[in-house]
Amino acid sequence: MSVVAPPITAPDMALSRGGLLAALHDWVVTVDHKRLGIMYVVSGLAFMLIAGLEAGVIRWQLAAAGNTIVSPQVFNRLFTVHGTTMVFLVGVPIVFGFANYLVPLMIGARDLAFPRLNAFGFWVFLFGGLLLYFSFLGGDGLYGAGSAPDVGWFAYAPLTARAFSPGNSTDYWNLSILVTGFGTVATSINLIATTLTMRCRGMSLGRMPLYVWMMLVVAAMTVIALPPLSAAQIMLLLDRFLGAHFFDTQAGGSAVMWQHFFWFFGHPEVYILMVPGFAMISEIIPVFSRKVIFGYPMIVAASLAIGFLSMTVWAHHMFAVGMGAPLNSAFAASTMLIAIPTGIKIFNWVATMYGGRIRFATPMLFACAFLFQFLCAGLTGIILAVVPFNWQLTDSYFVVAHFHFVLVGSLIFTIFGAIYYWFPKATGRLLSERLGRWHFWLFVIGFNLTFLPMHWAGMLGMPRRIYTYPADRGWDLWNLIASIGVPFQAAAILIFLLNVVVSLRRGERAGRDPWDAWTLEWATASPPPPYNFETAPVVESRRPLWDLKHPDDPDGPHE
């Protein structure tokens, strides 16, 4: 039997002419991990702009007591969609987008193990996100003009039951998050398979860059934690459409069961978002301190410990549910324990800087702000683990402050640091340092103006998710300061966008290795060719480029 090659079809004329359509076609059909990674990050940033606008309206409404900028119905939609967007359509795609781009490059591979699955994951995420926003347009004819979800990002039962949430708003939330979840699990499986099977010669597990180690942990956490959420969402669909009674308290269902399902996903999710931040920082701090990371094995062990412990802390979101003293104590213990590996990482980063020659380029500025803000976030986390204290603080603005210090003050800061760090690799041009400094300082000031005062508002008794508050509660000043921070953050983001646009055209040429770094992605061209490396790299230590640059003192003997 002879094999006949398929006939080569004539190229489509529209595409062969080049231009926008051809470029668009290339991006849509691509299975290249680098292009998919960039598309993840760019879509995540686009969703972040939208979620930021929603947050701006929320802060406008709350700037003074008794404001009537938006109705309670609209306010509830805004904070629901803001939270859902930031977690599922900003945090997740950006951290997985970076992993998509970086993991194959860092381990010397040519692509992820399953490139088509990778493309599937991206498009499922994107259309899932668009489905959520379509809800703003898709009025259902029965229940007001719009039907954007208004049950909060954790969608507590039984508020999501048909009786309390008529129309289809909750279904939009449910289906869009269900769909993006499939994409996230697919990408995680892909990352695990790639990391375990496609490392270049010489790269044992113990020589992987810390970034790759941590993304391996993140992918494993995702595979374990996300399916329970999908299962709960399917149960909710059954409740709403087929009359099942999983969460229907009027028919003997359990409202608390939803919370266990949700937080069994929800708390690992915090680490699924935050460990990639640690991963980025663990690459940035050594390079700009000009020192090898301090205590590599300890950081790997701490990451694994965080991965395991993150599965045991979920009910610390439920201390006010009335679980009883023994369970409350158990979850307080696990929550306090997870602070230890997290603290160890901070110590290791600071020890890496100690004795270094720190260069404060923009990525390092963001890393330094991260260290202080993450310290605050961690310490307020300890406060919240002290159960009786938690009974006062949970569901108050203190919690809002705490998790924004985690997800903005820590995660978004590391993401910006990472964008400044790897932008030259992905585009071949450096971002402007001058605009980068403006971006950084405005964002630090705006972020702290907005979120520091919320700690006080919460301790003074202000609950979250209220669309307005009485004037006599003593919360006005803190809310006003919080709202004043918004224009600073908005200006920072606009400067960042300007920086990207200007630098793409006129930025300084980066070359292969603009930061004098040590991991494999800097060994290839910027941007890397579709096949990544001309010849398969061979590594002999954790810092292959250090070995190249210092043949007299390679890393190997020290490890």
């Binding site: 507590y156 006010a320 230890i340 919360w475």
Partner: protein, 324 residues
């Protein structure tokens, strides 16, 4: 909506406690805040020192500093020390959890059942035969004769959360699950709180106030609440409006045909300081505006606008104003 409460309200700060559990939580919080502040100062101080001391100075050569790969002793130290801090914090926390959750009721404790509704609180005193709404009245407690209030929490619809920061921590109000908490106020006064778990459109308008009375004053309040509803012949016309339109489907006025259960009990409506679960002071003008169109004061409230004529409104409000 203008969430304007009456005068004499202080900020519901957890650091201005007025009840035994709130005092306990404040004391614990001082310990925890001291520990985390100390940690912050040490870690942030070292970080700042590293940033300033080891910044690259202009004119330095481009060479790399000595590479330090790690140190088992140092890393062991900064693992063990946090572990010891965690043990201390955990043991202290557990002691407080059990002390607060397992507190036994003394014989003179007051029993109250608070029922969460979208977007108001029903308050029942099962042993005293009183039903009221949104404003909890309790006696002050002293060491000679402790009279803490034990509160049973139930919900008829979605999850709410009972929170009056100066009196104690919050506890969720969950349909299908009965929770119990307690407060032991030490100082008479009015303390405000509100629903702390998102419960729908008017979550923000589900306010709560607790009035703590001296013991004899509380007894007088109980006697007044136990009395039958006023029946003033002069406002018979308003009473007829009340009993002939849909009001009675949702509201109860004891001793009349009105025995609806969906809305607040109105038997002693005028003894309450606020309307609509705290969104407006309970004045005749506000009462008229509320009956005319509740959504004007509280958008999304489940009580419908009754579409009454002006005359009907006048006589109805005149009747309601007699329900002291």
């Amino acid at each position: 909506m203008s969430l304007i409460a009456a005068t004499g309200i202080s900020t519901p700060s957890m650091f201005a406690p007025a009840s035994t559990p709130a005092f306990a939580i404040r004391d614990l919080s001082f310990l925890v805040l001291a520990v985390v502040t100390l940690i912050f100062i040490v870690v942030a101080g070292v970080t700042l020192y590293a940033i300033v001391r080891y910044r690259r100075r202009p004119g330095e050569d481009g060479g790399d500093p000595p590479q330090v790969y790690g140190s088992t002793q140092i890393e062991l130290a900064w693992t063990v020390v946090p572990f010891l801090i965690v043990i201390v914090l955990f043991l202290t926390t557990t002691r407080y959890i059990f002390a607060l959750e397992r507190h036994a009721a003394p014989p003179d404790a007051v029993d109250v059942t608070v029922v969460g509704n979208q977007w108001w609180w029903e308050i029942r005193y099962p042993r005293l035969g009183i039903v009221t709404a949104n404003e909890l009245h309790v006696p002050v407690s002293d060491d000679a004769r402790p009279t803490p209030t034990f509160i049973t929490l139930e919900s008829v619809d979605v999850i709410h959360s009972f929170w009056v920061p100066q009196l104690g921590g919050k506890l969720d109000v969950i349909p299908g699950k009965t929770n119990r908490t307690w407060i032991e106020p030490r100082t008479p006064g009015t303390y405000v709180g509100q629903c702390a778990e998102f419960c729908g459109v008017q979550h923000a308008g589900m306010l709560l106030r607790v009035t703590v009375h001296p013991k004899d004053e509380f007894d007088a309040w109980v006697a007044a609440q136990q009395a039958a509803a006023a029946d003033v012949p002069a406002v018979r016309a308003g009473r007829d409006v009340f009993t002939s339109v849909a009001c009675i489907n949702c509201h109860t006025v004891r001793g009349t045909p009105a025995n609806g259960l969906f809305g607040p009990d109105l038997t002693h409506l005028m003894s309450r300081a606020t309307l609509g679960a705290g969104v407006a002071p309970n004045t005749p003008d506000n009462l008229r505006a509320w009956v005319n169109d509740p959504a004007a004061l509280k958008p999304g409230a489940l009580m419908p606008a009754m579409k009454l004529s002006n005359d009907q409104l006048d006589s109805l409000v005149a009747y309601l104003a007699t329900l002291r």
